[in-house]
């Protein structure tokens, strides 16, 4: 589904990614771990198309199609979803109406009619229940005054609504208490299928107890320095990132 080859990227003349290779197939869950500053968030931003980052070399293909020239919204229309580490507050736009707009713009791009209002409401109801989100919450301005946990739950709620092919969860566990973590992980697991893939970006192994990865990659200084199965995450937890740093 996702093929990344020799990806290099920089921000403001600083090289961050220095040759990433990653292959993700449908039905798989990949975890990308690494110490602070290793390039984890840059990788997710570049896949989603953030223009702030300049891709200097390499390829990103989604289902065999080069997406590197596409705008962020076009990537979204092709099924890429990024759950933000720091979701942005949008005052004045309610959660519900933001979702309606996002879904209908995607449908418009695919030549479909707008989603009928009753269908939209039904979907919102189902997905908000999945994430244990209070109905009142949906009429509030997007992310404005939300707690850290509420923001992350809201990110996964949006993922549930948009049903992406490829979901990248950037530090979704940060700022979550154990109950919120369970709710979020449970939501992600219910959305997992044979047809989609998930990339979990995390600093800690904790989230991976709930969202169990098929593959774990360790990112360090802009490169993937180690890949393995889920046991790699435990090894990393036990030995700490110094293990990686000392080896490289």
């Amino acid at each position: 589904m996702l093929e990344i080859k020799n990806l290099h990227a920089r921000v403001e003349d600083k090289d961050i990614l220095k040759g990433i290779n990653l292959s993700v197939k449908a039905g798989e869950v990949h975890a990308i771990m690494g110490p602070n500053g290793s390039g984890k968030s840059t990788l997710s931003a570049v896949i989603a198309g953030n223009e702030h980052y300049e891709m200097t070399e390499g390829e990103i293909e989604l289902d065999g199609e080069d997406i590197t020239e596409l705008a962020p919204e076009e990537r979204a229309h092709k099924g890429v979803f990024l759950s933000f580490q720091y979701p942005v507050e949008i005052p004045g736009v309610s959660v519900t109406n933001f979702m309606k707009t996002a879904i209908n713009e995607s449908r418009k791009a695919q030549g479909l009619e707008e989603m009928p209002a009753n269908e939209m409401l039904k979907s919102i109801r189902e997905k908000s229940e999945l994430l244990e989100i209070d109905r009142k919450f949906l009429s509030r301005s997007l992310n404005e005054g939300f707690s850290g946990g509420e923001k992350k739950r809201n990110e996964i709620f949006q993922m549930a609504m948009l049903e992406p092919k490829l979901a990248i969860l950037d530090e979704t566990d940060s700022g979550l208490d154990i109950d919120a973590l369970r709710i979020v992980a449970n939501g992600v697991n219910k959305l997992k299928s044979e047809n989609n893939a998930i990339i979990v970006i995390t600093h800690y192994q904790r989230l991976l107890d709930y969202i169990v990865p098929d593959f774990v990659h360790v990112l360090y200084k802009g490169k993937i320095v180690k890949s393995g199965g889920k046991e790699l995450a435990y090894e990393l937890e036990e030995k700490g990132y110094d293990w990686i740093k000392n080896e490289n």
Partner: protein, 438 residues
């Protein structure tokens, strides 16, 4: 001939058409004298520092409206709030159009200034109210007063609620190469009465138009007035809008100004308090592009205790457009317990747009609550990327952010169909096809 000389010399011709043996004529002559002394305002005046009329005044304006040009309703239907029934007072090139209007004398008066100024039965009202709140020493107001003849006259009697909104429409057809019009509106809302008014100036051609409008509003005890100004004219139409509002105790007056178009637009919006427990609201949304220019000068004169005023102006400026917000709150010594609030938020798109914002508070009472806030910012790139990453294209995301920014003002529109109309004007202005159903 320069426009000033042209106007002064045409006054004699004007006198031939009116009754000169009246008190009103004395008012006119002294007003003309005042204009003659002061002339058109220039950038040397502090109040006109950022707005120059020079480029507009160069035009060879026709200052006397000729007879009515015909317009079919279907040509201009879209400018009316046609989804609902309204009273309509319509002028074409400064002349009343009975064909397009729907006036009334049934319970309320929604009709013509020209009849009010000439018919004996209105004499008492005119004596009591005409030119009584308008600033007599203001040059452009004086110019309007000198030639005041046509406009809307609205009088809502005590305890009456106007059963439908009143639309005041000024169309210019382009039948003159360049046209100057000077509408004069007088609105009296008596004790415990209630009215909603929508005013719009619309040029139907690309010929230059200059409108110098004066509106006087008198809100008596417990009266409620909602006034909406729609300024979405084409790039050759300039407007100076002088609105003066006198409020008696416990009255509520709200003025919304929606500025989306026009060449040079100057809004002088002045509130004067004449009683306790008055509530005044001034709100505006300005969305400009190209070389458009809008200047909002507001004044709230708190002269009496226990009154409130609320100002909230939002501005979005792109390309080379320029905006001015000069908001003055004056609290007199007697006006204890005043609660005055002023907010002005602006977004600049690109690096060529300009906003000049100046809050001005002059407070002479010692027990008051006055606050003001002014911001100038840009659209948040992080918010745009966030929205794009969820599939909302950049243009739509930008529009949604701008709409959300303005929403505080939009949501206080009381007429749902008008709110819808403003929404669609904004969508068109921002080049998107969205409902903004927030």
């Amino acid at each position: 001939m320069e426009l000033k000389e042209k106007l002064i010399s045409s006054f004699m011709a004007f006198e031939e058409q009116i009754d000169v043996n009246t008190d009103l004529h004395d008012v006119r002559t002294s007003a003309l004298k005042n204009f003659e002394t002061q002339g058109f305002p220039t950038k040397k005046l502090e109040a006109w520092k950022y707005t120059s009329l020079n480029s507009v005044l160069k035009n060879d304006f026709t200052v006397f409206p000729k007879k009515e040009s015909a317009i079919g309703f279907s040509d201009v239907k879209k400018y009316f709030l046609h989804e609902i029934d309204t009273y309509k007072i319509v002028f074409i090139d400064g002349v009343f159009s009975s064909f397009l209007s729907a006036t009334t004398h049934d319970g309320i008066d929604a009709c013509l200034m020209s009849s009010a100024l000439t018919k004996p039965k209105y004499k008492l009202v005119i004596d009591e109210y005409f030119n009584k709140v308008a600033m007599a020493d203001d040059s452009l107001t004086s110019l309007n007063t000198a030639f005041a003849r046509e406009g809307a006259y609205i009088n809502i009697p005590k305890n009456k609620v106007a059963d439908k909104p009143i639309e005041i429409m000024y169309f210019s057809t382009g039948s003159e190469a360049a046209l100057m019009v000077q509408p004069r509106n007088l609105i009296i809302v008596n004790e415990n009465a209630n009215v909603q008014i929508i005013e719009r100036h619309q040029s139907l051609s690309g010929n230059p138009v200059l409108t110098n409008s004066v509106t006087e509003i008198f809100a008596k005890k417990r009266a409620i007035v909602d006034f909406y100004k729609i300024q979405n004219d084409n790039d050759e139409a300039s407007l100076v809008d002088n609105t003066y509002i006198s409020q008696k105790e416990m009255s509520t007056v709200k003025v919304h100004t929606f500025s989306f178009g026009g060449n040079i637009t100057r809004n002088n919006l002045n509130f004067y308090h004449k009683g306790e427990h008055i509530d005044s609201t001034l709100k505006g949304i300005t969305i400009l592009d190209g070389k458009q220019h809008v200047d909002h000068h507001t004044l709230v004169q708190h002269a009496t205790p226990n009154c409130e005023s609320h100002q909230n102006y939002k501005g979005i400026f792109s390309d080379k457009s320029t905006g001015v917000f000069n908001g003055k709150i004056y609290v007199e010594k007697e006006a204890q317990k005043t609660d005055a609030f002023q907010q002005n938020n602006n977004i600049l798109i690109g690096d060529k747009a300009t906003i000049n914002a100046k809050p001005q508070l002059e407070i002479f009472a010692d027990d008051v609550k006055c606050s003001h806030g002014c911001t100038v910012g840009q659209l948040d790139d992080r918010a745009l990327f966030y929205m794009q990453s969820r599939g909302i294209p950049k243009k739509e995301a930008t529009a949604l952010l701008m709409y959300a920014f303005s929403n505080e003002v939009i949501e206080s529109i009381k007429i749902p169909e008008l709110k819808q109309r403003i929404n669609s004007i904004i969508a068109r202005k921002l080049g998107v096809n969205m409902g903004f159903d927030l």
